[in-house]
């Protein structure tokens, strides 16, 4: 097995409320092999962002990780004390967010914000850190990097700001980059540039865990994909196999919603119903209420995430039949 940058096993996270514990992430296991780009896709609220934050250890209180192991480059970092866990952030693993507009400190020059990442993890002088920051700006394709470094966030466009975020994340050469909806807030042309940049980073040796609800981005960039629904992984497979032979009705529903655009004209296929309330999940399969192929068994018994083909798992009793057709 090629070396694994990230192995998350049985990740669980939840939000305590008066009405009980919301299990936002429920027994999620994700592997990110070195040098590959792995995607997590699902409707908003399915727990994909929470999973990413759990891995980085950036849970927003009162949400908290309740179980599971996180192996980063062969070391379980889940139980590390905060001080050591913090030392990893920015150096071994880093993260970029969806909203470039508000993800940068408005009152600090962008160059300094990137240099800060350097000084946090490398014992170098301020000038050296600034130099590396400017160098990183050029690496992520920011023209006239030196003067741009002296600007403030509100003086830069959305695309530029996202490049700054990427520069900040990559400046310490982390092994793993987690990107939570990196291009959602950008227009298509800028999105393409950012995706190309991420592909280059991957080729340069950084594995990427991409979180997105956009199947197009996933298809274009990822090698392997996990589909999440209501806090659980319902299907995982190589990108080609997933798009050609979706085994789980939910995945098929997602793909139909996108593919119908190509057929042009008719009404969009939608998955009827709404994402269920995590506090009152139905018995059995969480997707049962919205699943067309729902049978009595689905309503009573939660299906296992079974291997239905090499490297292809699905959490559905009827998964095998679907795979062949």
């Amino acid at each position: 097995m090629e070396p694994m940058t990230l192995r998350a096993v049985g990740l669980c996270a939840g939000i305590p409320t008066q009405k009980g514990e919301i299990r936002a992430v429920n027994d999620v296991s994700i592997d990110v092999p070195a040098g590959s780009i792995v995607g997590i896709v699902g409707e908003s609220g399915c727990g994909k962002s929470m999973t990413a934050r759990a891995i980085m250890g950036l849970m927003r209180s009162p949400a908290r990780m309740t179980g599971g192991e996180i192996w980063l480059n062969g070391r379980d970092i889940a139980r590390l004390p905060e001080r050591q866990r913090r030392a990893l952030r920015g150096s071994e693993m880093s993260m970029i967010f969806q909203e470039p507009m508000t993800s940068l400190n408005p009152v600090m020059k962008v160059g300094r914000q990137v240099a800060e990442a350097v000084r946090l993890h490398a014992n170098v002088s301020r000038q050296e850190a600034d130099r590396r920051a400017v160098e990183m700006f050029e690496a992520v394709g920011i023209s006239d990097a030196a003067s741009r470094a002296r600007c403030y966030p509100h003086q830069l466009s959305g695309g530029l700001r996202q490049r700054v975020m990427i520069a900040m994340a990559m400046v310490c050469r982390p092994k793993l980059l987690i990107a939570d909806e990196p291009t959602t807030a950008l227009d298509v042309t800028v999105e393409a540039q950012i995706l190309r940049l991420m592909r280059n980073l991957c080729d340069a040796g950084t594995s990427i865990l991409l979180i997105s609800h956009n199947l197009g981005v996933i298809a274009q960039l990822c090698d392997y994909v996990y589909v999440m629904y209501a806090g659980r992984i319902v299907e995982q497979a190589g990108v080609i196999k997933l798009f050609d032979h979706p085994a789980h009705p939910y995945t098929r529903g997602l793909l139909n919603a996108v593919s119908s655009l190509r057929r042009g004209g008719e009404r969009l296929d939608t998955i009827n119903g709404v994402v269920p309330n995590l506090l009152r999940l139905p018995e059995g399969c969480s997707f049962s209420l919205r699943c067309d192929a729902c049978e009595a068994r689905c309503a009573q018994e939660m299906p296992e995430l079974r291997e239905i083909a090499p490297g292809h798992k699905a959490r559905c009793h009827l998964a095998e039949r679907e795979a062949w057709s």
Binding site: G90, F97, S103, N105, V107, M108, E116, A117
Partner: protein
């Protein structure tokens, strides 16, 4: 920047003239003859009328105002009716004490206020949060004289640690500064907590954490600077109100400050002293706000062109 400073200077002069004029008009509306008050119970009407004429108080208002402004430009702020001394001399002596007291009170207020505000925000709804917010509300709702007298009673009278009254030594400033600063500390703590809580929800805080910055670093380098803008405005106003004197604290600790002079001037309708203290307060307020406005740009680059 220079152009806007010139504009602000002109506006400051207008404000000074505005306040001086309004005070003259106000004194016309409000009953009370300074000479009668100054001469007390035993004076009779003839003497009062004679003295009023001598001081030129029976002149029409615009004449008095014009004469006052011309004298002021020459640096002669007139002689106080009730104190018999030149206003500028009285103000100079009193301002020394008020400045020292204001600086001491502001330091105490802001150090304690910001510290409590941060801890209360970080430990939101924890024990410390309620404790500090309780203290700050205690500070805001307890009248200043009560804080001053209790401090004086316990630390000066009973424990003899500090002098009961008078500021001949620097130790004399400790209790008044705490009494005066206590209320401001409460307000600053409340506002810092509220704005900090707001800022800590922002996305760039997550980015900082993602970079591996620890909580203290995040607080000082990222959160506080963004949270300080409204707080700094409040602090600028607190400083100018401290600098325009704190009559109650000055009274309890027998400090000859601008606050007592101002109150004496109003209740005695001592026009020259009243004008002197009011113009001084205006200067302090205008400079304080000018300082605050120009610091905005330093603190928040988005406003750089605006301020």
């Amino acid at each position: 920047m220079k152009q806007s400073l010139l504009r602000r200077f002109i506006q400051a002069v207008i404000v000074l003239l505005g306040v001086a004029l309004m005070i003259f008009i106000m004194l016309r509306v409000v009953p009370g003859n300074p000479v009668a008050t100054m001469m007390g119970e035993h004076a009779d009407i003839d003497t009062i009328q004679r003295m009023t004429a001598e001081l030129g108080l029976d002149q029409p208002i615009h004449v008095q105002f014009a004469r006052y402004v011309l004298d002021a430009l020459r640096g002669d702020f007139g002689t106080s009716y009730s104190m018999g001394k030149p206003v500028s001399q009285l103000m100079a002596a009193a301002f020394g004490n008020t400045l020292a007291l204001a600086v001491a009170a502001a330091l105490f207020a802001w150090v304690v206020g910001i510290a409590c505000g941060i801890v209360a925000a970080v430990r939101k709804n924890g024990l410390l949060d309620h404790l500090f917010m309780g203290f700050s509300l205690l500070g805001v709702s307890m009248p200043v004289f009560m804080v001053a007298m209790l401090l004086q009673y316990v630390f000066a009278y009973h424990l003899h640690w500090l002098p009961i009254s008078g500021v001949d030594s620097w130790k004399g400033y400790i209790l008044p500064a705490i009494a005066l600063g206590w209320n401001s500390a409460g307000s600053v703590a409340r506002l810092v907590r509220s704005t900090l809580l707001d800022v800590l929800q922002q996305d760039y805080i997550d980015t900082a954490r993602a970079k591996g910055r620890g909580q203290p670093g995040i607080l000082v380098l990222h959160a506080l600077r963004n949270a300080m803008l409204p707080v700094m405005t409040m602090m600028a106003m607190q400083l100018s109100s401290l600098l325009s004197g704190a009559v109650i604290t000055e009274t309890v600790f027998s400090i000859n400050g601008i606050g007592r002079l101002a109150v004496q001037a109003i209740s005695g309708r001592d026009i020259p002293l009243l004008q002197g203290t009011a113009l001084f307060t205006t200067l302090v307020v205008v400079l304080g706000n000018l300082l605050a406005d120009s610091l905005y740009a330093v603190l928040d680059p988005r406003i750089r062109r605006e301020a």
